[in-house]
């Protein structure tokens, strides 16, 4: 597609973690002159974050940056405050780093109720305490009514890792097993159901969570580089994350529908709205590409954690069909899983 044509104006879909978002990021980053430091991971890699290798020292810093908005700001299972911390901390964890500190900026709409702000700040601080991450600086801005929707929180997270850790998006190896740590689509579906006014008398909640217990459980495997890459499938869902991997590594990923945990309510709501759970955001799940010789042990360790007890090996990395993600469906057919194009919208007609 021609970039000029689709980028005439910014559409909502440009922020939805699919092809259009890639275009937008490209547009913004193409003319940056200095894109990394000391050959660390930089903005050009479009990874979860960047690394700054420290000279004369065996560690490197990890920096990630995030803007958090959500509607509604209080949703089944969480709120914007919790989401901001989880998003930041998880990005650092997905690079194999230890989160140490973050800075934040609250941008608030004129007229926003203090009581709501209090709740969000509270949950922001509490979640940070649970993640053992310091909040070391910040800023606030108030914008005139109508110029934004209630509140936006931006964060910059700082972590640290050993230079010997090779985890990055581009580090997949042929034969790697793909582990998914839990059911998909819970977060996005719970939100959509709330927005569409479905009565979910069931207990469907966002899967929002800090991924720290999972990372802690496989610390040694991470240090030994048996874990080659990790991703949290937020916007764009696992379809977005897996396609990103396949593309960046010029390899293919073959997954099995049977192995992918999907809650019945999630499947039912998606069927009803004509949506594909693979495209729907999770906020407390991880995808790991791991050395096949160690995959079973890594899986077992993850399964021992509370948030990872439904983890499964869902697929494998191969050479054929490079840059594609293929799905063996529950009835045994094969089809492609495409990079999502925009925001998943319920089918209307």
């Amino acid at each position: 597609m021609s970039e000029k044509e689709s980028l005439k104006v910014i559409r909502l879909a440009h922020g939805a973690g699919g092809i259009l978002q890639e275009e937008l990021i490209n547009f913004i980053t193409q003319n940056i002159s200095l894109k990394n430091i000391n050959n660390g991971i930089g903005v050009g890699e479009l990874d979860d974050g960047a690394t700054i290798p420290l000279e004369n020292y065996d560690k490197e810093l990890i920096i990630t940056s995030d803007g958090h908005t959500i509607s509604p700001i209080f949703f089944p299972g969480g709120d914007l405050g919790q989401l901001s911390i989880c998003g930041t901390v998880n990005d650092i964890l997905m690079m194999g780093g230890k989160p140490i500190a973050l800075t934040s900026c609250y941008i608030i709409e004129e007229g926003f109720e203090l009581q709501k702000l209090d709740k969000i700040v509270n949950s922001f601080n509490k979640t940070a305490a649970r993640a053992n991450i310091a909040i070391i600086a910040g800023d606030t801005k108030v914008m005139p009514r109508g110029t934004l929707n209630e509140i936006i929180i931006t964060t910059t997270g700082i972590g640290i890792r050993n230079k010997s850790i090779k985890i990055e998006d581009k580090n997949l190896k042929v034969g790697d097993k793909i582990i998914l740590t839990g059911s998909i689509g819970d977060h996005g579906t719970a939100l959509m159901a709330t927005r569409e006014g479905f009565d979910i008398s069931t207990d469907l909640q966002s899967d929002i969570a800090l991924l720290s217990p999972i990372i802690d459980s496989i610390k040694n495997e991470i240090q030994n580089n048996y874990v080659h890459s990790m991703k949290d499938p937020t916007r764009g869902g696992i379809a977005g994350a897996l396609n990103d991997w396949a593309k960046k590594n010029n390899l293919s990923i073959h997954i099995e529908e049977e192995k992918i945990p999907i809650k019945r309510q999630v499947q039912a709501i998606c069927d009803m709205l004509g949506l594909d759970p693979y495209n729907i955001a999770c906020e407390g799940r991880a995808l790991l590409a791991v050395d096949s010789n160690h995959s079973e042990r890594i899986l077992e360790k993850i399964k021992e954690t509370k948030i990872g007890n439904e983890a499964e090996i869902i697929g494998v990395v191969k050479v054929d069909n490079p840059k594609n993600v293929l799905l063996k469906t529950i009835v045994g057919g094969t089809r492609y899983i495409d990079m999502p194009i925009g925001e998943p919208i319920p089918r209307i007609c």
């Binding site: 597609m1 259009l20 594609n324 009835v331 057919g333 209307i348 007609c349």
Partner: protein, 364 residues
């Protein structure tokens, strides 16, 4: 919320049994067969579950004109666009419809220029908008097959406010099937017929295919094993040299259909010869509002003048895609100039359109 039990209909065990039987029968028949479905939702099921990849290669499933948005002719969109340009007018319609272009422009583009065009979920929303805006004309752009017609018919019967009217672009499925059979190059061996539509019209309208054309027909549900079972039933008909109308979707479709809905349709609408986008006029292929309800017929209520319309943009092959003569990947523009972000024809724009579905699930 009631969550349906879909276990058997998506169970691999049952799939394997069905596939076994399908393989056995096709060996007995010993020649390639070609079945057609006429429903975007069936194409979704077939593509999403990769059914073509597990069926024997001598069974071909092709896709007919099953996308209500796609078959709506440019002339009807041009009419609604003319109306939308009028002062104090609100146009209401279903989501995908607003992106499909008429001859020159789509409703979405007109909306961006300031026209009051609203996406609604059902005709009752349109009537509600009319009640809330008594000083404005509220026009509902009614598209769809037999499934949506009773809903709009019901609103018209119930006496909506006088500022409410309808552009009726409803199409009827059986007439389209008949047209497809007469396309000799297609050589169809049977129809996988749409469950939703049949729930309204019942089995009778399909009798002509078995009696008149000797082509078997299976009314089919929308789970993967529904479709495979339908294929098995069609093969069985072929093998036995029979051509019945069978009902695989009996959990929803009654043989007589939905009598109340049928009554509404025949009270409010006449079936007429009607143009389908890129396909041409189909005898009994659409619905028009009956004379006795003409005050709600926007075509009678307003003077609408449109110039000569153009259904298919240059280079686009939607007219051939919709009747199963071409597959999306055989269009030169597919995946190149034409994609869901910058779609060229209606089959790429609508999520029920064949090009759109192929883009998502097939790579070549």
């Amino acid at each position: 919320m009631d969550i349906p039990n879909i276990n058997i209909l998506r169970s691999k065990k049952f799939t394997n049994k069905l596939l076994n039987s399908i393989n056995n029968i096709i060996n007995d028949i010993d020649r390639p067969v070609k079945f057609m479905h006429v429903c975007g939702t069936h194409e979704h099921t077939i593509s999403k579950y990769g059914l073509r990849s597990i069926l024997p290669s001598n069974i071909e499933i092709i896709s007919g004109p099953g996308c209500p948005v796609c078959v709506c002719p440019a002339a009807d969109i041009d009419k609604i666009i003319e109306l939308a340009k009028k002062k104090d007018t609100i146009i209401t319609t279903f989501g995908d419809m607003i992106r499909v272009p008429g001859t020159n422009i789509s409703l979405a583009e007109l909306k961006a220029k300031g026209a009051d065009i609203r996406i609604i979920y059902g005709p009752n929303d349109a009537v509600k908008i009319a009640k809330e805006n008594p000083k404005k004309e509220v026009i509902f752009f009614a598209i769809g097959f037999e499934t949506t017609a009773p809903l709009i018919g019901y609103e018209i019967q119930s006496g909506p406010p006088s500022n409410f009217s309808v552009i009726c672009a409803h199409k009827l499925i059986p007439a389209a099937l008949e047209l497809l059979i007469s396309q000799s190059q297609l050589n169809l061996d049977g129809f996988i017929s749409p469950g939703h539509v049949s729930a309204i019209i019942g089995l009778k309208p399909y009798n002509i295919f078995s009696q008149g054309y000797h082509i078997p027909n299976v009314i089919t549900g929308f789970e993967p094993n529904d479709v495979l079972l339908a294929i098995l039933l069609l093969l069985n008909e072929k093998k036995e040299k029979k051509y019945n109308v069978l009902n695989e979707y009996s959990r929803v479709v009654k043989p007589e259909g939905n009598l109340i809905a049928q009554e509404i349709i025949s009270d409010v609408f006449d079936s007429i010869s009607s143009p389908w986008r890129g396909i041409g006029r189909i005898y009994d292929g659409g619905l028009a509002i009956k004379e006795k309800y003409h005050e709600f017929d926007a075509e009678k209520k307003f003077e609408i003048e449109i110039e000569v319309s153009r259904d298919i943009p240059p280079g686009c092959s939607c007219h051939l895609i919709m009747i199963g003569k071409l597959k999306p990947n055989e269009c030169k523009l597919f995946r190149k100039k034409c994609n869901p972000i910058n779609p060229i024809g209606p089959c790429m724009i609508s999520r029920e359109g064949n090009c759109n579905i192929y883009y998502k699930y097939y790579k070549k």
